[in-house]
Symmetry: C2
């Protein structure tokens, strides 16, 4: 991509409404623009990152055995009356009538709709266990939207729903998804801590929030720092793994302010291992058994011919919120660095030449060569001055930069990983490094 042909409007001054660094950065480098209160357009750079996060989330869902589908954004009020939530959900639900005077709403979540789909299409225990997910825009009519896409009204969420024949099976599904979430956040280079949570408007018996640590987080989290030492990468989806997770996270203390028990914290953690940090919620999982399958009458026939209301859980990841959360975690001292799994481009070429001079030609030759090798490349071919270019690309956050200026010999390039030292390399070496870094297999 040539920067001169891209739509990446960089701002010098940003609105003073932008209080946290993710909101500031996203406005600054043209990732998003607000179109009305709490509703945003995603400009090309922001959308590219959002899609990459979505892809990581999708791949991990698929590996866990969950199956993708899509429910609509607009729902009928009827099923929400059946579940009893139409009245109780409150003003965050955006409600309206269509031209035929039918009561509709913009889905804030999908427990009702998925339960109805299950009820109408699945009759036998043979179809269980079943996990379905979708990645769809939701709307919650926040009274005071703020912090950019971190607390906005229209947001992208991945929500999974599990269906099981018994409470025991349902709890396996719960830990299956917990493992999937740990793997997902690890891919995003985030350390997410599953922390017992209140069940709120979703309801149910068991719930965990996934909190990542970031100094600018909204909520406070109390924890035993040993809880951070858990590596899910080699765990398979098996009962042993589920047990291992359950043991680890019940062994070490973690709690948000709402759930914090000061006496317990003091009792079961050592002074040395105590941590009190700010955190950001990036996921939330619920086990709620028959809470929706009973009122909505979602029944399967068991092996011995009995009618059983299915046991369910739901599992959410804030996909659009994660864009902000990653920035909160990774943006420091005016340098942003995207995790390699979700960087908008693999590498940036900062061309310090002028239009059609020998430096520019060298830069474009490199650009073509990298494209030919299947890298996603952006080249700064604008007329901005060098210091401006450097400053912008430190904010744009592509992990690798190649600076093409007058300093180097014809076949040599200045190559830099953000936050590390510059080295001079030839093109073959450059391609090797990038292929290794991005695990591109030829």
């Amino acid at each position: 991509m040539k920067l001169s042909r891209y739509f990446l409007p960089v701002l010098k001054d940003i609105s003073s409404d932008a209080k946290i660094k993710s909101h500031q950065l996203m406005l600054r480098i043209g990732m998003i623009r607000q179109s009305s209160a709490g509703i945003y357009s995603w400009l090309p750079l922001g959308y590219k990152i959002l899609k990459k996060i979505e892809k990581v989330v999708r791949e991990e869902q698929d590996k866990s055995g969950a199956i993708e589908m899509l429910m609509p954004t607009i729902q009928s009020s009827d099923i929400w009356r059946e579940s009893g939530r139409y009245e109780s959900y409150g003003e965050e639900m955006l409600r309206f009538k269509d031209r035929q005077d039918r009561e509709l709403l913009y889905g804030p979540t999908n427990e009702e709709l998925i339960t109805q789909l299950f009820r109408d299409n699945i009759k036998s225990y043979k179809s269980l266990p079943l996990m379905l997910y979708h990645i769809q825009w939701k709307f919650r009519d926040e009274i005071r939207p703020r912090f950019g896409i971190m607390r906005c009204r229209e947001f992208l969420m991945k929500d999974t729903y599990s269906f099981d024949l018994s409470k025991e099976d349902a709890q396996k599904s719960y830990f299956r998804m917990m493992l999937c979430y740990l793997k997902t956040f690890q891919k995003l280079e985030l350390k997410a801590i599953p922390t017992k949570a209140e069940t709120g408007p979703i309801g149910g018996d068991l719930s965990h929030e996934f909190i990542i640590l970031a100094d600018t987080g909204e909520s406070e989290i109390f924890l035993d720092k040993n809880i951070l030492n858990f590596d899910p990468s080699n765990l398979k989806y098996s009962e042993n793994s589920f047990l291992e997770i359950s043991n680890h996270y019940s062994k070490y203390y973690s709690a948000t302010t709402e759930m914090h028990d000061k006496d317990k914290f003091e009792k079961i953690t050592t002074k040395k291992s105590q941590m009190i940090k700010k955190g950001i919620e990036v996921g939330h999982i619920f086990y709620f058994g028959q809470k929706y399958s009973k009122p909505l009458n979602a029944i399967v026939n068991s092996k011995d011919g009995k009618n059983v209301n299915v046991y369910m859980g739901s599992y959410g990841i804030g996909v659009s919120r994660l864009v902000g959360a990653v920035i909160e975690a990774k943006y420091n001292n005016n340098i942003m660095k995207w995790p390699k799994s979700i960087t908008p481009f693999h590498v940036a070429i900062i061309n310090l030449g002028k239009k059609n001079d020998s430096i520019s030609k060298k830069a474009f030759k490199l650009y073509d060569e990298l494209l030919k090798n299947n890298f996603e490349v952006i080249i700064d071919d604008t007329e901005n001055n060098p210091s401006n270019k450097f400053k912008n690309f430190d904010l744009i956050g592509i992990p690798f930069q190649i600076i093409v200026g007058s300093k180097n010999k014809d076949e040599e390039f200045e190559f830099k990983e953000l936050g590390k030292d510059t080295k001079v390399v030839k093109i073959k070496e450059l391609i090797n490094i990038l292929e290794k870094e991005y695990k591109i297999v030829k």
Copy 2:
């Protein structure tokens, strides 16, 4: 994917409301379910196909030079008042108020929002030409939704917007997108005819609908059959190509009922070349110059320092509608066959064995082997009877089937391309055939 673990609810009886074959098939094989009038959930099979069509559309957009972004589904009424369409758009626009009593609407199209984004972020001719697109759900409150996802209320549309400094440049953008559409529909194995159209609520000076021929189409189309002889596959994005397209489609007659001129038709076509067919609209492009840039004040500075209201066009493809349109075009005599570019799976294994018998084991060995070779495979491991399995897979429409039964030797398989004869092949040959058919490069 194991069919027993998939969510693919096949119906024996479908509602008599389903009048056209795409609607019938999509209900029958569990691609969609209606959740309320004209609003559908996309079940896994249907969603997989929708995503594949989206991918083809996206890839061709990217090749044309258009840049992807995303605008929200919910818009403020303010910008629609600025353009003057808030009053004129009519009841198909779903309007409502949020909890703060602000007037909002669910976007039926995005000319206003993109013009506002352009106005607020782009100031110089240097950023032009620019083409931006997004693929987003839209809502049109049809008074009488029907034909399944062909005329529904919540639908997925790809809409592109072009911005140019002059009328001449804007018309190049118009033909650039026309070429892109011809290439897109060709990838989907559809013959789409750009046909002059009325500009309707979008407005403007110039407009083409893209119509594909299908016996069950809603609208009638009159054409010179020579118009069908046009191959866009080797055309590059250049002015020569744009001229070639323009010449071809103005040389040969085509018109929908609304635009049909009987006398002209008789005069410029020979009796032998006349065709009157049913057609389905799958795309619509508009050139409307300064219609939105003037009221919304979208101005750039030209090279000689003048203020110019940008010249714009908009270009839509009904992505969800295409799922139905492909079925209308490709589904005949109880056999559906998806184009290879969008088939939900590369190949289906129809296992006629019983659980864990030697036939089943052979089938699963093949399944593992094909997965290892990076094919998308579905295996029917259910307890349905063979005739049922054959019937279902002829409807599901995966182009290649492998039947594993008792007839063949251990290392041999019955292999069939839908609509062609069965042949007996060994596994290596099978993999070779599939790699060739799907152009998989190793």
